[in-house]
């Protein structure tokens, strides 16, 4: 039985490992089904849209004077001539058992997990994903720390000092943050801090080569990305906190003579964090799949930049790979959030 007045987003039990395990397995199974559906949809889009639009993907991979035989050969090589269900099945099988590609005397074996080869660069997709993933993960996590700390703090302060100068100015800044797109704030920060004041170099350096260089290169992207999200988090925090402060149990806590610090920090914050956590799960999951605008503005070689190039080049295998990572990270992040609810908000726990 669920206690508490609000309906909990997901029931989680603490202290009963079996039930927790069953719940996790159920969720993971659902996630796997979801991924399969997503792969089917992406294949469907790639198969159907060119047909409707009357365009030919294979033709864009041959030279200026393409004779029909060469186009046909390329279509064969890319596997685009097979029926769509065979293409999708080949892809599934490749993930678990690997695949062998043989065209025109060129035999290539791609061992499991095989996500295929880029149409454009002929690289295997899996190493491209694993190579670019850490860049995106670093960007997303670093920015998340910033926007959580500053966004939530600003929201709480605004809620506590409602109508004050602080509240008003914080909310104006937040509004600006929400409404200014990354390619504006990104270019502005580059122009000001990288080229004008020369505070940061703002060029990506792999962590392995120089941790300091990596940190220096990531500061502007982190701040720029966090600015957008912190603004949203500040507004949500403020609204939720004000609602929570009006609740009976807060009045009770105050009436009991608890210190204001405890009332806010221990009682009000827990309820406030629930919607923040929900948002964080989705935002972080989506960002891990590639912060397309941030990465292309700051030339960060992450998944978002890869997928943008892939879309330009009609490079289906790379697009599929990134879509899968995005979906998987959204699903996992949401699962993690559901588990965390129980930690933060006791009302969510089963009795």
């Amino acid at each position: 039985m669920i206690t508490g007045r609000r309906e909990a987003p997901a029931p989680v039990i603490r202290g009963r490992p079996k039930a927790v395990l069953a719940y996790l397995i159920r969720r993971l199974f659902a996630a796997a089904v979801m991924l399969v559906v997503i792969i089917m949809v992406v294949f469907g889009i790639f198969y159907l849209v060119p047909k409707w639009a009357g365009v030919d993907i294979a033709a864009s991979f041959v030279g200026k004077q393409a004779d029909p035989a060469a186009v046909e050969a390329v279509r064969e090589k890319l596997g685009l001539s097979d029926p769509v269900h065979l293409q999708a099945w080949g892809f599934f099988k490749g993930i678990f058992t690997g695949r062998t590609y043989a065209t025109g005397g060129d035999v290539v074996h791609c061992s499991a997990p095989c996500f295929g080869y880029s149409f454009k660069s002929e690289q295997a997709v899996w190493p491209v994903l694993t190579d670019r993933f850490p860049v995106t993960l670093g960007l997303a996590l670093g920015a998340a720390v910033l926007w959580l700390v500053f966004g939530v703090a600003a929201g709480v302060l605004s809620a506590l000092k409602r109508g004050s100068l602080w509240d008003r100015s914080a909310m104006v800044v937040a509004l600006a943050g929400v409404s200014l797109p990354i390619y504006f704030t990104g270019m502005l920060s580059l122009a000001t801090f990288a080229f004008g004041l020369k505070w940061f170099d703002a060029q990506y350096v792999p962590f392995g080569r120089s941790p300091g260089g990596w940190f220096g290169g990531m500061i502007l992207p982190w701040i720029t990305l966090a600015f957008l999200y912190a603004a949203m988090y500040a507004r949500i925090t403020r609204a939720t906190m004000m609602e929570v402060l009006g609740e009976d149990y807060i009045r009770t806590a105050r009436a009991k003579g608890l210190r204001e610090q405890t009332v806010i920090g221990k009682h009000a914050m827990r309820s406030t964090m629930t919607p923040i956590l929900t948002m964080l799960g989705m935002d972080l999951g989506a960002l891990i799949g590639g912060a397309i605008l941030t990465e292309s503005t700051f030339n960060l070689p992450g998944l978002g930049q890869a997928v943008l190039n892939a879309i330009r080049n009609q490079d289906l295998p790379i697009i599929l790979g990134v879509v899968l990572i995005t979906s998987l990270s959204v699903l996992l992040a949401n699962l993690a959030v559901d588990v965390l609810y129980a930690v933060i908000d006791p009302r969510v726990r089963l009795t």
Binding site: D56, S60, G105, K120, L180, L225, T297, N299
Partner: protein, 590 residues
Amino acid sequence: MTTQRASARRKQALAAAAVVAGLLTTAACGGGSDSTSEAGYDAANNKVVNAAATKGGTLKFAGAQDGDSWDTTRSYYGFAWNFMRYYSRQLVTYKTEPGRAGAGLQPDLATDLGKVTDGGRTYTFTLRAGSTWEDGRPITAKDVKYGIERQWAQDVLSGGPVYLKDILDPDGAYPGPYQDESADKLGLKAIETPDDTTIVFRLPQPNSDFPQMLAMPSASPVRQDKDTKSKYGLHPFSSGPYKFESYEPGKSLELVRNTQWKEASDPVRKAYPDTVAVTFFSNANDLDQRLIAGDYDLDLSQTGLSPQGRQTALKQHKGNLDNPVSGYVRYAAFPQNVKPFDNEHCRKAVIHGADHVSLQTARGGPVAGGDIGTNMLPGSIPGNEGQKYDPYAIAGADKSGNIAKAKEELAACGKPNGFDTTIAVRNNKPVEVATAQSLQASLKKIGINAQIDQYDGAQTSGIVGSPANVEKKGYGIVIDGWAADFPSVQGFGRPLWDGKYVLESANNNYALIKDPAIDELFDAYAKELDEGTKARMATQINHKVMEGGYYLPFTYEKYLNWRSGRLTNVYMTDAYNGYDFVNLGLKPSK
């Protein structure tokens, strides 16, 4: 997949873009002074800037896009061909000289430009001694043959030019080296390798531009035991002074010295820097700012600065800029299968009615857009007459359009009150759309109502490249541009003007020119070995094309290109319409 909440903010975005443009032009003041050049504006256009023979340093390229492929067989990008000379050699290659001289050929792996016998059907080359692969083994005639044979494997190695394949094996009899039954995979009959230093080409029909086709990277040697087929472009095996150290597609590329390369074996390459590094950018504005700041030496793609970078650079670093032609002629073609463009008078009405100055302005003006185009043969092609040949007074008396003359032509066409038509233009470049709008506005004045249809630029071959589709959609005016694959009227104009080159898809003869006189001239040109006569034929072909009124040329395109003050031996070459990469050097660092 969209991950950031940036939708539905178009208004802010527009305002934002304007503010950013303003800020960017002011914020990047006083960029690194060490990169400033004393050579002056346009100094490397037609002459060498900072001639020096200093070795060492890292030459830093910045690229807004990766090469289509670094496999010598598979690339069709001009900048990639230019770059490939670092790690590949050919029998013959372009002279390392500025301007027009740079489009001439000189021996590279071969000892001379080849002995031509049998009325232009046989070319015999002898290989120079001492040329080696990056593992020290000598480059043999068989390696050259195998490298050329790879062009036949279009099913695995698509994307590059196939001139040699079409000329040596017009019927497509050879299946390519990967499906070659012979033990050594060298089954192509048209190329013979009697010994390791001799290679003989036997052409079924003579083609006087054959040496030009041998100068393309797609004629580079490839060693059979190092051929990784579809993966070759990820790490080509070097025959030149540099070899691949690392390559991460879309991120970076680094070449280091090939220690096995000997300068004495190579009459072309000087190999000044120790390292050649390329960094790829996804933000072109950022790339320009970093060039101006001195973080990088030059732009890999050689397509010029973007509008914002242009403004900053022109104001503050004019001496670092060159303003060369891009090799492209920008034009409108009139497909004859769309009425009333089957009538030459209707075509000429459009040519006379267009405001050529406003078209030039739409393309960026005289500096960033280029000079007004008066005929179809660009300046780097032998036989061109430049703006001197101007049969429609496009850059002369009628440069703002001649409405009276246009109306005369309309009357002669039987459409005195004008007509309706459609302009087809690619949607991925704002300047193309601006050109279409400019043309639309001037045609309105002579009663021609033109709709603009923007199509997906990545799908050119199936949209405007399909005459059936052009007819169905009623594209009376197709806006496009063209540059030569090699500097000759054949390399530039044959796909555009020869009736035999009209194709069902990927057609480039948009106007559907089927003029026996032009076709005969091309055939005669291919058989003619005398360069002077060839140039005169090129002039004649150009005249025939212009007289038919099949095209309205807009501009001989130009761009503004950044040259770091660190660079030595900098010059523009007509061979690649960009800086000649292979012999760039660096000033010693202080």
